[in-house]
């Protein structure tokens, strides 16, 4: 009995410390912070700025297991992809931490976040796992967000703080992938360049003197290699990584 009580006391002290730091950092940075239990999919604490910005007001004892409140903060149309990506993030972070308990990672996702009555704006939502000395990994995450400048194609990104490559969510494969060192064939690069100049498939086929079916085949190959699901995203990624 005593051992469990000590553990509970320590967990409570840890949570209190995270609440203290969230509150102070929220104030000095002017940023909305919240603590999110990844396992239970619910908020356990929101700073005043978070509540004010997301128009969410709950008494502390109402936080636990309020999944409907959680849904209310993210736009309903973003919720499905959020659930899908979130489950992948959980798997991936578990895997990362099992190999390296001192890994330093955080995620940046772009969602529409409530900013008023029936009003939602795009925001970069950062989530960072908090390791508990008592409980081990990963259930608690610190969340903060800022307005997103653009919707962005790199919509879900996992960052490694100590220099490893970033990972991006591929909706095509429903998993996180590394996007650098992509090997596009010369003809695939040419096709992508022509698309970025506004040419359509028949025009591309004519210029390259190949059949239109072949142009479509190479387009699919480009999507697969760049882990994208549409041509606009392919052009963006291509230019970002200086493939074009």
């Amino acid at each position: 009995m005593e051992a469990i009580d000590l553990k509970t006391e320590l967990i409570n002290l840890e949570h209190e410390e995270m609440i203290r730091l969230s509150t102070i950092f929220s104030e000095i940075l002017g940023t909305p912070y919240a603590l999110f239990n990844h396992k239970k999919e619910c908020f356990i604490f929101m700073t005043k700025i978070f509540c004010d910005i997301t128009h969410t007001w709950l008494a502390p004892d109402q936080f636990a297991a309020k999944s409907n409140q959680y849904m209310g903060i993210i736009h309903p149309k973003d919720f499905d992809i959020h659930l899908r990506v979130n489950s992948k993030i959980k798997e991936l972070i578990s895997e990362i931490y099992s190999k390296n308990p001192f890994a330093k990672v955080f995620t940046n996702s772009i969602y529409r976040i409530r900013s008023g009555e029936n009003k939602y704006d795009y925001a970069n939502v950062f989530m960072r796992p908090i390791k508990s000395i008592v409980e081990g990994n990963l259930n608690l995450h610190m969340v903060f967000f800022k307005p997103a400048k653009r919707k962005g194609y790199d919509r879900f990104v996992l960052y490694f703080i100590d220099g490893e490559k970033q990972l991006y969510y591929s909706s095509l494969r429903d998993e996180f992938v590394s996007r650098e060192n992509v090997e596009l064939k010369k003809i695939e690069i040419e096709i992508l360049q022509m698309i970025s100049q506004g040419l359509r498939e028949p025009q591309i086929a004519k210029r390259l003197e190949i059949k239109i079916d072949l142009v479509r085949y190479y387009k699919k190959s480009i999507f697969r290699k760049l882990h994208v699901s549409n041509i606009a995203e392919a052009v963006y990624i291509g230019s970002f990584y200086e493939i074009l």
């Binding site: 330093k104 800022k146 703080i161």
Partner: protein, 257 residues
């Protein structure tokens, strides 16, 4: 990377550690604040009083520029910051850091750790241009989670000063929303150079400098005249001055009024 040499100003040399702090905590907390710096494009300094080292994490281009192009995450010598402070302000800067360290170590708000400090100081951009920079200090990490734990890491957020931001050292208490203002009595005074004033103390001086008499001030502050007299007396004692005019002069020299 250059080896850091003798970081001095930011360290609290009066702390005594019974044993080495748990650096597993350090790794976890450090990654937390680095992700903030990257995500929010801010610059911070993390002072480790046990290992006597300071780490700069700089993702704000304006601050990186002021600090001579230093960016990313690295151990530094405090001269990277102090060399950018005009010489006439360095002693003030030193005093303010010392006051912050003393306040945290002496548990200025008792067991309440929900507080932070702010102050602003001019810094040089290049050789001659000046920009006011605000430092926000947080008692970040203690050696354990108990109320009487030893301070171990102090966090400083470094941001360009926004308009109308006060320059003098202020302690912000988050739980009750109060502010305590550190007023420099005499920069040449080596011991006890600061007085601590509350918002209501400042109000008394401000109303006095506006020409209000005691009845008018007590009415504005919703207190009795005798209560006002007591507060005024205590205030003069703390500022070590003998007249309202002298008190006003001290506050003006601190750029508080």
């Amino acid at each position: 990377m250059e080896e850091a040499k003798n970081p001095i100003i930011f360290l609290d040399k009066h702390l005594s550690f019974v044993q080495e702090p748990d650096y597993n905590w350090y790794n976890i907390r450090e990654s937390n604040i680095i992700s903030e710096a990257i995500g929010l494009n801010v610059t911070h300094l993390l002072v480790d009083h046990y290992k006597q080292s300071i780490f700069l994490c700089s993702y704000n281009p304006e601050i990186s520029n002021i600090l001579g192009g230093v960016n990313g995450n690295r151990k530094i010598d405090d001269s990277i910051i102090t060399d950018k402070i005009p010489s006439e302000f360095r002693e003030l800067f030193l005093n303010q850091i010392q006051i912050i360290n003393d306040s945290i170590r002496n548990r200025i708000l008792g067991d309440d750790k929900y507080y932070y400090f702010t102050f602003s100081i001019p810094m040089l951009i290049g050789d001659s241009a000046i920009r006011k920079i605000t430092f926000k200090a947080v008692p970040y990490q203690f050696t354990n989670l108990k109320p009487d734990a030893t301070p171990w890491l102090t966090y400083y957020l470094i941001v360009p000063t926004s308009e109308n931001e006060p320059e003098h050292l202020i302690l912000h208490s988050i739980k009750n929303g109060n502010k305590l203002h550190f007023v420099l009595r005499n920069i040449n005074q080596s011991t006890d150079p600061f007085a601590l004033l509350s918002d209501s103390d400042l109000d008394i001086i401000k109303f006095t400098s506006d020409g209000d008499n005691e009845e008018e001030i007590s009415s504005k502050m919703n207190i009795s005249v005798s209560h006002l007299k007591t507060k005024k007396y205590s205030l003069m004692l703390r500022l070590k001055c003998t007249s309202a005019a002298q008190a006003i002069s001290i506050l003006r020299s601190n750029k508080i009024i």
